[in-house]
Symmetry: C2
Subunit: 147 residues, 2 copies
């Protein structure tokens, strides 16, 4: 009983060092946290990121947006469809390539992301405050590279 299938030091090593586990774990916590934050606006954390990404001077194709978010192309198809159904983005056929489509924000999308940003700011400030001793921006940079 309670027989160890692995040497204990192996179990502890994976627990303490596995970057995949540590990242999935943090990702779940943060997703819950920001999903709840944006829930009053009917947004998830991922939808927020997507809308922000489309708020700059950039009109990427679906594939390029998927790459930017390190997300599978098929996930992007589904995510774009959800946002389109809600009227937050519009999918425009590319002028030169009939295969490609570019998601662009609608008025409603612009208005919603503008409402969401102050919430993000406040919550992110809290998060920073909880990370005493850690360089939050440096961490974001490292995570951006990771994987």
């Amino acid at each position: 009983m309670t027989q160890s299938s692995l040497p204990l030091h192996t179990v502890l090593q994976i627990r303490d060092e596995c970057l995949c586990l540590a990242t999935q774990r943090a990702a779940r916590k943060l997703a819950r946290r920001f999903d709840r934050l944006f829930a009053p606006l009917g947004l998830t954390n991922g939808q927020f990121s997507m809308l922000v990404a489309l708020s700059g001077q950039w009109a990427p194709r679906l594939g390029a947006l998927a790459d930017f978010l390190a997300m599978d192309a098929t996930t992007m198809t589904a995510a774009a469809k959800t946002l389109e159904k809600r009227g937050l983005v519009q999918l425009i056929a590319d002028e030169t390539d009939a295969r490609a489509r570019r998601p662009i924000l609608t008025e409603a999308g612009r208005a919603l992301v503008a409402q969401a940003v102050p919430l993000w700011r406040a919550e992110h400030a809290k998060l920073h405050a909880e990370m005493t001793g850690t360089d939050a921006t440096g961490l974001a940079q490292i995570l951006w590279q990771l994987g």
Copy 2:
């Protein structure tokens, strides 16, 4: 057209600093990477983590395991069911509390996790090698706290 709904510096700030986005992004990349690694064994990265967590001298209830992995209780219910269906874990009723159940590894589960660990070791070593200049174990610790 391509009209900015947000000040550009805001868009850039969120892109560069948002820990939620950065973490989700890294989590997707690592999940894909380790899912592919374990695919020949029919395991996902999350299933691997769960099996390893059950490989130590610990026989947690479902709720405690969910807490350990920072995962929602309902997700744990579903995940445990999948592992049970595959015969990798068995769900044992708690002796003192009729509500509680404890997942424990089966022989098959022990054998499979033993096969998976060397794959993890090799891949994780590669990952370390890609992170020149970063303290990987320190990063794992920070991520464990994060959220």
